[in-house]
Symmetry: C2
Subunit: 117 residues, 2 copies
DNA sequence: GCTATATATCATTCGTGACTGATATGTCGA
DNA sequence: TCGACATATCAGTCACGAATGATATATAGC
């Protein structure tokens, strides 16, 4: 239907949906705090809580989310669990983001469409 | 207060907040569709509507958001407004995201913590 | 001037997901 | 086995922001 005038290349929805979920995983101050803390190396949950200031249950919830998504990896050591970034390219992504924020995307802080929850 | 045991390097909150806003700008299927469409070159709003399938007002709202944030730039030509990506590094960011999704972050699609709105 | 087309703005609705507090699981030392 | 510590899970609350539909602005052609 809608005839032959369909020469427009539609957006690839599944791909876009995947990207959306990845960026949504990153679009939260708590999760970004955790990821930022882990850039220096692996940390236990307690250390993450101390560094980020998140509540224990909140941090744990976000860690589960990040872990399921494959962005961080946890390893049990005694009664501690140590988490680390699962891919160095995650660090690259953050660096690239900071570069953008430093230049063209500098209007982001002033954008009132969504706030700093 | 809280004594001298403050050797912990706390997360830099303003920086994290900025990154959060940038990623939140990217964490939406509609906006990502628009950005993806613009990777091929500049497009008018009408073309963007046709390609993404978004409603006109919805697309316009997202374009304003993306424009204010500095991620896209619009130029008036006659009664049309043509938008383009304002920085090629935005494209790099998307490529990097796809790389991550292809490998370590492949759990993202299965992550049920947040959905594909 | 008037009409049609292109884009922008505004108010409202409604679902998603972040946080809290309490509780459960699990691991170590005595 | 028991108590203390580390982490995980769960239910409930509440605010953010995405989409819609109607309306406003703007530009071009007649």
């Amino acid at each position: 239907m809608s005839s032959d005038a369909e020469l427009i290349e539609r957006v690839d929805l599944p791909t876009v949906a995947l990207r959306t979920k990845l960026f949504r995983g990153l679009a939260d101050a708590s999760r970004l705090s955790i990821l930022d803390a882990l850039r220096a190396g692996s940390l236990s949950v307690g250390e993450i809580v101390a560094i980020t200031g998140l509540s224990q249950s909140n941090a744990s919830n976000h860690l589960r989310c990040l872990s399921e998504c494959g962005l961080v990896a946890g390893e049990q050591r005694g009664r501690f669990v140590h988490y680390r970034l699962s891919d160095p390219r995650l660090n690259e992504l953050l660096v690239l983001a900071d570069e953008l924020l430093g230049e063209t995307a500098c209007g982001v802080d002033a954008c009132g469409n969504y706030g700093a929850r």
